[in-house]
């Protein structure tokens, strides 16, 4: 067996093993997600300090639509709990995406709205992704205030609307949901 053939066999083996591993990992993830009930998905929401989230969001944009920007990036950073807090926010966004997926799967008549909610949650994820990128390139200081506050404000408004929605439809687990988001 010459070197080229050996390399070919090794690479084909590696690509096959890699792709098969990815298939199994994602098949399990998709299966878990497709079998989850509405309540189970909500149960995955991580606890975030709602008051601090509200303070950061309302500093950027209050109910009348005025922009204040009184909080300094350092203050936002500590109120959020640093990158750990952002990670929790990202986790909750994934849950919001799962909620939207659930609506798309089981209630096709609400497809358009569920798709919009999914895209909005993805937008928050995008802001957090930019922050992570800035961390790895050492530019967190300049990027933090902008991306973090946008992500927090979007999250805050989105979750507030979700709560309003459940209040209207008298969702039985509303207390638990309120505590979670």
């Amino acid at each position: 067996m010459n070197l080229r053939s050996l390399l070919f066999v090794v690479l084909v083996g590696l690509v096959f093993a890699g792709l098969t591993g990815v298939v199994f990992r994602y098949a399990l993830r998709t299966r878990r997600s497709s079998q989850a009930t509405w309540e189970e998905i909500l149960g995955r929401l991580a606890h975030l300090d709602r008051e601090k989230i509200a303070a950061i969001a309302l500093d950027a944009i209050d109910d009348s639509g005025r922009q204040n920007f009184m909080l300094e990036p350092d203050a936002i950073w500590s109120m959020l709990g640093g990158m750990e807090g952002m990670e929790l926010l990202e986790k909750n966004c994934q849950v919001l995406i799962e909620l939207a997926t659930y609506v798309q799967r089981w209630h096709p008549e609400a497809l358009v709205v569920a798709e919009q909610l999914r895209l909005n949650a993805r937008e928050i994820e995008w802001h957090i992704g930019r922050l992570k990128g800035a961390t790895s390139t050492g530019n967190l200081q300049s990027a933090f205030a902008d991306y973090a506050q946008r992500a927090v404000a979007t999250y805050y408004l989105m979750t507030r609307h979700v709560l309003e929605l459940y209040e209207q439809v008298s969702f039985p687990e509303l207390a638990q949901l309120k505590q979670a988001i």
């Binding site: 080229r4 053939s5 390399l7 070919f8 066999v9 690479l11 084909v12 690509v15 096959f16 792709l19 098969t20 990815v22 298939v23 994602y26 993830r29 998709t30 997600s33 497709s34 950027a60 944009i61 639509g65 922009q67 994934q94 995406i97 799962e98 939207a100 997926t101 798309q104 799967r105 089981w106 209630h107 096709p108 008549e109 609400a110 497809l111 358009v112 709205v113 569920a114 798709e115 919009q116 909610l117 999914r118 895209l119 909005n120 993805r122 937008e123 205030a145 902008d146 506050q149 946008r150 404000a153 979007t154 408004l157 989105m158 609307h161 979700v162 309003e164 929605l165 209207q168 439809v169």
Partner: protein, 262 residues
Amino acid sequence: MGLSGVRQFLWAASFSSTCVLLAVLLLRRRAASLSAFTFLIAFYVAKTLVLFSLAIHFSIRSRPYALTYWSLSYVDDAIQFAVFYELVKQVFCPTGVWARDTRRAFQWLVAASILLALGLAMLASPPTARWYETYLLRSNFFVSVLESGLFVGIMVLSSTVGLPWKTHAARVAQGFGACALTSMVLEGTRNYFGLGPGQRAYGVVAYIETVIYIGCMGFWIVSLWQEAPAPRELPDAMLMQIYTLQRRVENDLVRIRNWRRS
């Protein structure tokens, strides 16, 4: 005809399973939502009939048979890519237009799959007597790696962005993904052994390929015969409220996107 008993049995089994699948697609009315896939299965039926009559009139080692076989295999690849596009559209265009957060990722996926397939196909150096045999072996391997990358990629992408699959489309994609992955290994084996004296490796791979094909047909027959789970009813009031929620979230996002921190 020049076929062994086992080979004839496998040929008959693969032909009948393809016919059954075509019947399932038509009788259970899956053809409307899976039109490219139905066309592919109808093509397989026609292809087998054409090749079978050529094998009877000439032989499977004759020139007309070989020419038809290889030409049809490229048509087969082209239709398979049409099926891929059909599945991708069902998942990534849930509202009729391409989901905006997946467009770029999908372009990257296609580019990466092509590069991977091209790299591996260029690395292959099958021992063959004629240049076109090398071309045929490499091109088949290229297609199988490309399809593997694409099917695995769309599965990962849909799961990451949270876009659900419709039940039947998911089953078709799973079958294709499994076939593409095994085909990558089998075509890799063919490229390693090449078309040497006796073509023993080529024949063994052909047996395994047919068995996998029959297995895949069986999987599709069972899963496409079954009905997809029925959607749940959403009360009108809740539907209206979800619409209101979405409008308000969208308004907020417009405001947030326009922020400028002085």
